[in-house]
Every structure is written in structure tokens, then in C-alpha cells.
Symmetry: C2
Subunit: 298 residues, 2 copies
């Protein structure tokens, strides 16, 4: 499918792509640019025959696919280097979690000859690092490809084919819709989980009691999401403006929830709680989660 | 251990206790009072040799342990019936999730000759009904026994022994501390999960998009908790006054989180996100959750 692929940043997502490309034989050669020596040691254990490079230099000039898997805050300096070395037929993509900022940045500074089509595979975990990667990480997961007005349709088809080859279900979205949708299904839940854990930590100080040992009543679920990588999530919270709208809607609902409780409004409370249940059924039916109670934990 | 036990309400928790008592041979006879015919059919499949009763009548007069496993809103009318029939040596307990309300109620209306020592096994699931019960539901889980000023110490020891026999780790707490602790580790997380799902449902209407299909980015975790039984949770939200304090602290933290994002305060945001991670590590070390990433889901 490709002659030479370059993966920049090889943590959980980058190393999962590396494993998938190697396993499906999608490229004759794979270059990996990874700064952390610790990560390089771990990636060597994957035995993917990739070649590690230290800089974006002449060796990169003939790659036909570049995949950025670094935190988004590193994109700018990477683009500036790619601009100098890549050829016009090369396809660039990234796996960043917010899209309007990335499209704005690349439209501003990317060499106009180059093709960048942005991707967002909806796959991840609370753990980071190449040791947690998995060639099947993308299997049956959504991957969003960002549709802009003027795009090379051949390159879009190629990228689409690439994600489908490594197992994703592909959907095309414009960047505005992408950021709106994921502000609710991903960014707000993470922010709320972080906020709940902070609230539990504060309560622990106020109450002077070890609360955390009694987490099995619900708190433990949130602690998983709130253990996600802080650099990645800093970049997301700073770059999706829709998160503020999402927080405002959440706060409005929370205030009304509080009033319902204070007024002991039985009918309203029961209807609110029963309504939520429908969403779980839908999520399981859509195969967005396992069907077993308690996530199948034991 | 007991001659005759009565379980009132035989859903997820009641049927798990039934299974555990039967499996550990902790009582010669087990009576079950369950209103739902549908549930009775399911309980018969457990083959626990329990006897179903329809009312609290003379058959109950010689039980030595009564366990209330109904929603808390049903306790009042049950106590009024138990008052007329039970003997002084009988031990009564319950598994309700808030405690100050229960202690207040029983101190007000329970026959002074009777011994009620309240329990709270920290075990449960988003699913309800006896078909989901499990004799090992309490294994290595905390069970709180409520300590009051004047209590029969023999009965406390007996109850302690009972919970330990069915696998629980027992801790004694006064009702005030219980409600404070679980307002943070259980009640607030549930309320927040319900509120997040409501916010996603509202956004779906506002955006006119099917968001739910993209839940794998985080929302799906919350949907599990927000699928919990609405009667049980109505009773909890209406009866733990500490939930309002918990909401207020959560809202204060959320407002400050929003400001940190709006001001792009890098240092504060990173420290907040990195701090949360510690809680997950602690929870896993305390064996309050599975150690596998993503709850071991596949």
C-alpha cells in the first residue's frame, strides 16, 4: 500500500499504528521518530523492523505517508520541518483529538503543495506509552476523517482505505461538527471525571478521612478516565472552544438537578433517572461498549 | 448460625444474600418476602430451598435475623408490621445506602424491644433483579455496620460475623460519617453520571446529531452508572443531605476549571490533571478496582 511510512511520536496510538502496519504489511519500510529513549527501548521489543530516525532530514524526503501521533502542541514545529523536506505526492495525517485548531494551523503554515488530511481514531485508554499499544486497537472503532472544501479526493480515498485496512469504521465530518460532537462524547466526560476526582481529593482534606478506600460505590469508574495523559488532555481542553459551551450546559442541568432534590420533586427526579437508562441500552446496542454488567469486571 | 432468616425484597442484593446464606449454610430455614411475581419465578431458579411468604404474619414470629433489601422508601410500612410480630431476641438489619434517615426512622417508630443494627454492603451494579445476583457479590467488598451509642454488643458481633462469613470486610462507622463519606465516593459520582447523560441527551437535541454512536471516547463509562435503578437512587438523593454540599463543592471546582481553561493557565491545568492520576493508582493499589487498563474490556 505504501513504500515508506513515517510515524512521528510512538506512544500508545503511534505504536498501535506501527504494529498494525507491520502486521498487515501495509508498507515496505517504516520510519519512527520518537524522542524518548525509554520509549525506543520499548518499541524495539515490538520487532516491527522499523527504523528509528532522530531528525526530519533527507531520509524522510521520499515517504508517501506521514502520521503525526505527538501531542498537538508539538505540531507547529514539526510542520515547519516537514515543509522543507516532503514532496508534493506525500500524504500527511494526524490523530489529534480536536480539529478546528489543527485545520487552522495547517492552512496557515503548511506548504501549499502538501496534502494534509486530518484523522481522529476514536480509540485510546487511560494508559500511555508504546508498551500498551495493540495492533487491534482500531478494530471496529470509529475513525473520523476531516472533510474540507478543497481536498485531493484520491488522497482521501487512500487515507480511508488505510484506516479501514487496520480495522476502523470510517466516517467523514467537517471540523466544526467534529469538535461539537466530541466536546460532548469525549472532552466533557474527561473534564467532569477530572473534576470529580479533584472534588473527592478536596473532600478528603476537609473531612480528614480516607475516602478513596471506599471508591467501589462509583468513584472508581471516574478515576480511570481521570488518569489519562495530562499533556494530551491539556492540549484538548485548550483547543476545543465547544468545551466551554458543554460545561455551561452541564452546569445548567446540575443546578436544576439540585433544585429537584431540594424540592423533593419525585416525578421530575424519577423521570430524569429513568431517561438516562435508555442511553446505556443504546450504547450497548451500538456496540460502543461491552454488554456485560459492571464492564465484565470481577 | 441462624435458625430462620427472613429476607424482605429479593432483587440484586437480596438474592445475592439468599445465595450466600444458602451456599454457606448459615441458616436452617430462609423465608423470602418478595412482591414481584416475575422476581419470584426467577428466584425459584436459584434452588435455595427458601420459602416464599406473602405477608409479615405469624410464620415470621420466630425468625432470628431479618434483612431489609427493599428500596428505603418502603421501610416505614415494613417496620410497622415487624413491630407487631417480632420477638425481642431477633436481629434486624438493612442494606440501605444512606444512614441518618434510617437511624432516625427506626429510633422513632421501631418497637424499643427490638434490635436493629444497620448495614451497608458496598456492592452493586447497574443491573437490577435477582437474575443478576451472585453468591460472591460481597467477597472482599466493604460492608459498613452502623455504630450507635446504645447498642447490643452481642448483636453487633453477630452481624459482623454474618457479613464476614459471606465474604465482606467489615468496618464500623457512625451514621454521620457514613453519609459524608458515601456522598463523595458513591452518591455524587452517580448524580454526576446522570447529569452528564442528561447533558448528552440535550446536546443531541440541540445539535440534531446522533452523538451516542461516538460514545467510546469516554461517555460510555458514565452511561453504565447512569443506568442504575431509579427508585433506589431517588431514595438516596432525597435522603442524604450531604449530597447538596457535595454538589456545591463540585460546582465550585468546575467553575475554577472553566476559568483555568479560559485563561489558558498552563501550569495550573497540568498540575490539576496530573494530580488526578494519583487517585487511580491508589484505587488500584487498594484493590478497589481491577488493575487492567480500560477495566480489561475488549
Amino acid at each position: 500500500m505504501f513504500k515508506k511510512v513515517l510515524i512521528i511520536g510512538c506512544g500508545l496510538i503511534g505504536s498501535s499504528i506501527l504494529r498494525a502496519i507491520h502486521s498487515k504489511k501495509l508498507s515496505k519500510k517504516i520510519l519512527v521518530l520518537e524522542k524518548s529513549k525509554n520509549n525506543i527501548t520499548k518499541i524495539k521489543k515490538i520487532k516491527s523492523n522499523c527504523k528509528f530516525i532522530k531528525n526530519i532530514d533527507s531520509e524522510v524526503s521520499d515517504v508517501d505517508l506521514v502520521i503525526l501521533c505527538t501531542p498537538m502542541s508539538e505540531y507547529k514545529k514539526i510542520i515547519e520541518k516537514l515543509n522543507k523536506i516532503l514532496k508534493a505526492n506525500c500524504l500527511i495525517t494526524d490523530v489529534g483529538s480536536t480539529k478546528q485548531n489543527i485545520i487552522k494551523l495547517k492552512n496557515k503554515i503548511l506548504n501549499k503543495k502538501l496534502n494534509w488530511i486530518s484523522s481522529h481514531p476514536i480509540a485510546g485508554s487511560e494508559v500511555s506509552g508504546p508498551e500498551y499499544g495493540n495492533k487491534n486497537l482500531f478494530l471496529n472503532k470509529w475513525c473520523v476523517i476531516i472533510k474540507e472544501k478543497k481536498q485531493n479526493s484520491k488522497k482521501i480515498n487512500l487515507l480511508n482505505k488505510f484506516w479501514r485496512k487496520i480495522g476502523s469504521k470510517v466516517v467523514l465530518m467537517n471540523p466544526v461538527n467534529h469538535d461539537k460532537i466530541f466536546s460532548i462524547t469525549s472532552h466533557l466526560p474527561h473534564l467532569i471525571a477530572y473534576n470529580l476526582i479533584k472534588t473527592a481529593q478536596d473532600s478528603q482534606k476537609i473531612q480528614r478521612k480516607n475516602l478513596i478506600q471506599y471508591s467501589a460505590g462509583g468513584l472508581r469508574d471516574f478515576s480511570r478516565i481521570a488518569a489519562s495523559n495530562e499533556i494530551m488532555w491539556r492540549d484538548i481542553f485548550f483547543n476545543n472552544d465547544d468545551i466551554i459551551k458543554a460545561i455551561n450546559l452541564f452546569t445548567k442541568n446540575l443546578n436544576s438537578f439540585k433544585k429537584i432534590i431540594q424540592n423533593k420533586n419525585n416525578k421530575k427526579l424519577l423521570s430524569r433517572l429513568a431517561n438516562s437508562k435508555k442511553v446505556r441500552t443504546q450504547i450497548v446496542q451500538l456496540k460502543q461498549d461491552v454488554s456485560k454488567p459492571d464492564f465484565g469486571r470481577e
